[in-house]
């Protein structure tokens, strides 16, 4: 099982408990950092490691830390973004469930580097069972002198608190998360000012993803330069990929950056191929917000090179023939999956999760959903397809936060690569209507008149 960094100790029985984690070399990085390094040295190691934000944007973590306003006399905060709500992504949940102490360890070292005395873990409310696991881990760390006042006899003090959200995808956006943490609605803030200057309670704040912060511990243990040697190019280290959809082995896998996508999908130690001996049709490789790619473009780039699991390779060809690594939510579609239905499903998601602050997103996501609904349910027009492209284009880039882009990209890319499937839906309304299955039959009966015209959706 070589090459595992984050999940190296996951198979040790009882690793969730402090004693077992400590005995397997846990919290050694905390001792190493607090006793032998200055905060600036810790920051340097993270910069040298080339670690990039694992939440989706892939922004260099060391650089993000360097923006923190260190001249301000206000308290600084570190907020761990555990509001994992991106469809297809469940890696942070897995990490926190099995290795809560690895996250705590990463939080202590990061807080030390940033000069933070209070750290909040903002976890989505649905993960209530994890709140108990994290609180237990925090209490254990406290009891053993790794949290609280004067950690390990140094001048450094830190408290970590778990804060549950309450079911809002938008709170994964860092400024919406801060609003929510302040006890408000999760409406994203206009940037600048960036959280590094005005974040939580108007104080300098760093917001990082769970996986990013957990990775800081092994980086300190092995050194930034050694970490940077793993992976490929600017995509250093390993990445947790949560694979789901029509594959034989759904689950969370730690891969070294640079693994060919084809190997990831078909190797028995990863996804294990497409379920039920079917063929690969398409993949959304980085959570539902990134563009969908058909099988041929997913396995090889438009230039004919093998597509690799790195930030750069997945983005090769930009949005015309590429996609993004995003959060690592790897959703696989087999030959039978209906792209139109999936696009409608995701459009419903974004309409539901739009906070409603910016008109293009609030209105546009609803329009896209309704147009997709009528195409999927046999009441679409040919002009609807171009209408969707236009609406998506008018949302993209015209909103305060990236949720607008995230809603537009799946629709635009599905039409870009699967236009013929959309056209088929329009041309064959009877076939489409009859293949609708499951729960939606109820809606189809009541909401679309037999004539197929005039959809009374709402």
């Amino acid at each position: 099982m070589g090459g595992k960094i984050l999940l190296a100790s996951i198979d040790i029985p009882g690793i969730r408990e402090f004693g077992v984690y400590r005995a397997s070399g846990g919290y050694a990085a905390v001792e190493q950092a607090l006793r032998g390094m200055t905060p600036a040295q810790v920051g340097n190691e993270v910069t040298k490691s080339g670690l990039r934000g694992r939440g989706g944007a892939g922004f260099p973590t060391g650089l993000k830390w360097s923006f923190l306003d260190r001249k301000s006399d206000k308290p600084r905060y570190l907020v761990c973004n555990a509001d994992e709500s991106e469809p297809g992504t469940f890696k942070d949940r897995y990490l926190m469930h099995h290795l809560p102490h690895l996250l705590i360890e990463g939080l202590i070292i990061s807080s030390y580097a940033l000069g933070v005395k209070t750290c909040y873990i903002y976890i989505r409310g649905e993960f209530k069972y994890l709140v108990g696991i994290l609180e237990t881990a925090i209490r254990e760390a406290n009891k053993n002198g790794f949290l609280g006042e004067r950690i390990l006899g140094t001048d450094f003090s830190l408290n970590i608190y778990v804060h549950p959200g309450a079911g809002a995808y938008i709170c994964g956006e860092e400024t919406a998360l801060l609003e929510s943490l302040e006890g408000k609605r999760g409406n994203p803030r206009i940037k600048p000012p960036f959280p590094a200057f005005k974040g939580l309670y108007g104080c300098p704040t760093v917001v990082n993803n769970v996986e990013t912060l957990a990775t800081v511990a092994p980086i300190i243990r092995m050194g930034g330069e050694a970490y940077a040697k793993i992976g490929r190019g600017k995509s250093t280290g390993t990445k947790l990929i949560s694979a789901c959809g029509n594959i034989n082995n759904p689950g969370v896998y730690e891969i070294e950056m640079g693994l060919p996508v084809e190997d990831f999908i078909y190797a028995p130690e990863y996804c294990g191929g497409i379920a039920n001996d079917k063929y690969l049709k398409a993949v959304i490789p980085g959570g539902s917000s990134v563009p969908i790619l058909p099988a041929d473009l997913m396995l090889n780039t438009a230039r004919g090179e093998k597509r690799l699991m790195t930030y750069e390779s997945l983005a090769d060809g930009e949005f015309a023939t590429g996609t993004m690594l995003g959060s690592g939510g790897f959703i696989v579609f087999d030959e039978d999956a209906c792209i139109v239905r999936n696009t409608w499903n995701l459009a419903h998601f974004y309409r539901h999760e739009s906070c409603g602050q910016c008109s293009p997103c609030r209105e546009g996501t609803g329009w896209m959903e309704r147009v997709l609904y009528r195409i999927e349910h046999g009441a679409g027009k040919m002009s609807d397809i171009d209408l969707l492209v236009r609406v998506a284009k008018n949302i993209e880039g015209n909103t305060i936060c990236p949720l607008g882009d995230a809603a537009a990209w799946p629709v635009a890319s599905a039409i870009r690569h699967f236009r013929r499937e959309f056209e088929y839906h329009v041309k064959h309304p009877e076939v489409v209507k009859n293949t609708s299955h499951g729960a939606l039959n109820y809606e189809v009966e009541s909401m679309i008149p037999d004539s197929g015209t005039g959809v009374n959706y709402w």
Binding site: P75, S85, P87, G88, F90, R93, T118, R124, G125, E126, K128, Y129, V131, G132, E135, T136, R139, N159, Y161, V162, H163, P164, G165, A166, G167, A168, Y169, L181, E182, G183, K184, R185, G186, Y201, S242, A243, C244, G245, N246, P250, G251, V252, I284, S288, I331, F333, A337, R341, N342, N345, L346, H348, F349, H352, C355, H437, G438, A439, L440, Y442
Partner: protein, 194 residues
């Protein structure tokens, strides 16, 4: 300032009931409030609403929201605007067990539509409704972050994964039995915070 005329929406009916946390819960609540800096007690709003919803009747009535506002020293409207934003807070009366079926992409690929159809058939209610005996409420929710074990649903925030109609039937049977014995559907928020 509490002007009854401000609130006209049918969901916002102030019943005038006296609500309060049990002393043990109240102690925990005050500890939670102390986790946030001086002057920022409002931060504790989401955790408090979770606890209030769970311990004071399964949904957030106006009386409960007013009570939470008084605990935090904020205006009631600051609570209303938050309670109406987040999908985990219920403003209407809910059943004893709230069944929330994930409907988003990966779960739909794995058959969540059939699971939901099955629940509708068995419970004879639509999403958003409660059975007449008050035991079950059915809701469709967005991604629960359990896509590798789809299809998934939550009952009172406990996860039930890799569902099949048969599993759903067995679960409903168990829950009906629990309801007779007056058992809660899972562990509480207060237990989670230590």
């Amino acid at each position: 300032m509490q002007n009854d005329n401000i609130i006209q929406h049918p969901q916002f009916i102030r019943e005038g009931k006296q609500v309060a946390f049990a002393p043990g819960t109240l102690k925990k609540v005050h500890e939670l409030i102390l986790r946030y800096p001086e002057g920022q007690q409002k931060s504790a709003l989401l955790p408090l609403l979770h606890i209030a919803q769970e311990e004071l009747g399964g949904h957030l009535s106006v009386d409960i929201m007013d009570y939470v506002a008084s605990l935090l020293g904020i205006q009631p409207v600051e609570v209303y605007e938050v309670a109406t934003f987040y999908s985990m807070f219920y403003l209407d009366n809910m059943g004893k067990y709230v069944i929330e079926v994930c409907r988003t992409g990966p779960c739909a690929l794995a058959g969540s539509e059939q699971i939901l159809a099955h629940l509708r058939d068995v419970l004879e209610i639509k999403p958003g409704e409660t059975t007449p005996d008050g035991i079950f409420s059915l809701r469709e929710v967005e991604c629960l972050g359990s896509c590798g074990t789809a299809p998934v649903m939550q009952v009172n925030t406990e996860y039930y994964e890799k569902l099949t109609p048969g599993k759903v039937d067995r679960l409903l049977e168990d829950l009906r039995e629990y309801a007779n014995k007056n058992k809660p559907g899972g562990s509480t928020w207060v237990e989670k915070f230590c």
